[in-house]
């Protein structure tokens, strides 16, 4: 049963009025509203949502990275980032989403200048490890991050495993260990 998203969340109007001339999209699913912004506007919109007294989203619950390669429906871009905001005073959740496209082949670990968004560590210090995880798994870099290293895999891991063009069984990483036997132990 498809229903029309109801775009009556008060934040839509607040953000629209605060950023005249910018394009925003919005969607809603089962009572949760998502604001879709351009990557360049991401930091300023999130800053507005955090600092404006009427918004007051003082807690960043999560940053999720998505790879839409081979997605069956039409998407805005190859990669997406979803910021999961919570206002603790009103116990309210709000999502901000942005999509970016790579400019270089994505099957390795090349530093793609197109896959960069602004870090929000200056707004929510807790974003530091979340952004490191997104960088580790999807290779999206965050400009202004104080310490952007891989967080789960080791430094010279030859891939970003949550990209859909990374084979699910890896490229031999799980087989490339020395064999310990009686003589070496």
């Amino acid at each position: 049963m498809a229903t029309t998203p109801s775009l009556d969340h008060p934040m839509f109007k607040l953000v629209k009025d605060a950023f005249p001339g910018k394009t925003f999209r919005g969607t809603e699913f089962r009572g949760e509203s998502t604001l879709i912004v351009e990557p360049g506007d991401l930091h300023s919109v999130l800053k507005f949502l955090k600092t404006n007294a009427a918004c007051d989203y003082n807690f960043l619950s999560d940053i999720a990275g998505i790879d839409y390669l081979n997605y069956p429906a039409k998407t805005l871009g190859r990669f997406a980032l979803v910021y999961n905001l919570i206002c603790l005073a009103r116990n309210e959740r709000f999502f901000v989403k942005t999509s970016i496209d790579p400019s270089l082949p994505t099957d390795g670990i090349v530093n793609d200048p197109a896959l960069v968004v602004d870090s929000v560590c200056d707004l929510w210090p807790g974003a530091e490890w979340m952004e490191r995880e997104v960088f580790d798994m999807l290779g999206i870099r965050f400009k202004g991050h104080p310490d952007l290293r891989r967080i789960l895999l080791w430094e010279d891991y030859p891939g970003h495993p949550l990209r859909k063009d990374y084979p699910v069984r890896g490229r031999g990483e799980r087989e490339s260990y020395r064999v310990v036997d009686r003589t070496s132990a």
Binding site: L153, W154, G159, P161, Y166, P167, V168, R169, G170, R171, E173, R174, E175, Y177, R178, V179, V180, D181, R182, T183, S184, A185
Partner: protein, 188 residues
């Protein structure tokens, strides 16, 4: 009470030193619990009062590999954990034995992904494989008893020119698989 009551007052026993050593070794297997997943829960249950691994002398879980002689690999081994496991194996002192407990430690189980090693026996010698997901405590006890029988027979694992040959025993499942799906009975 006990053994000394059956002996004469100033009596003595004659035996072979090897038998005494094997007898003490088989009854004091100190496991190093390398529990990384749900098999570790069954391992804990095995050590607890209902199944009581202490009956087999293997209840002294040692979290230092230098004090352990039985490595129980219980759970999936990720690509970051395997070097740790190898190092722990190397730090254990001889004679030492390895039990690969459960489907994940033996084959990777359902986790056929880049991050999970498809069987720790590719990289360390494994003496006893215990199937199950997770195995029941009885089955882990079967595995410990298999190692006890090996110790009884010849002490340390067979050698091939200084190179350790893993025993490679496989425990059989201790339950009968019924036709699937099993009918549900309520109140009966």
């Amino acid at each position: 009470m006990g053994l000394e009551a059956a002996l004469p007052v100033d009596g003595f026993l004659t035996t072979q030193l090897r038998h005494v050593i094997n007898w003490s070794r088989r009854n004091s297997l100190w496991p190093m619990p390398f529990a990384t997943a749900c098999c570790g829960i069954e391992l804990m249950a095995t050590a607890c009062s209902r199944y009581d691994l202490a009956r087999f002398g293997a209840e002294v879980m040692r979290f230092s590999p230098r004090q352990a002689d039985l490595l129980i690999v219980a759970g999936r081994i990720s690509i970051k954990t395997l070097p740790v496991l190898q190092r722990i194996y190397e730090q254990m002192t001889e004679p030492k034995w390895v039990i690969s407990m459960g489907a994940c430690a033996s084959t990777g189980g359902v986790f056929d992904t880049y991050a999970v090693v498809q069987g720790c026996d590719q990289f360390i010698p494994v003496d006893v494989y215990i199937p199950g997901c997770p195995p029941r405590p009885e089955q882990l006890i079967e595995g410990v008893m298999a190692i006890q029988r090996i110790i009884d027979q010849e002490g340390i694992p067979p050698m091939n020119g200084g190179k350790r040959q893993p025993l490679g025993l496989v425990m059989q499942p201790t339950h009968v698989t019924k036709p699937q799906p099993v009918g549900v009975t309520v109140g009966g």
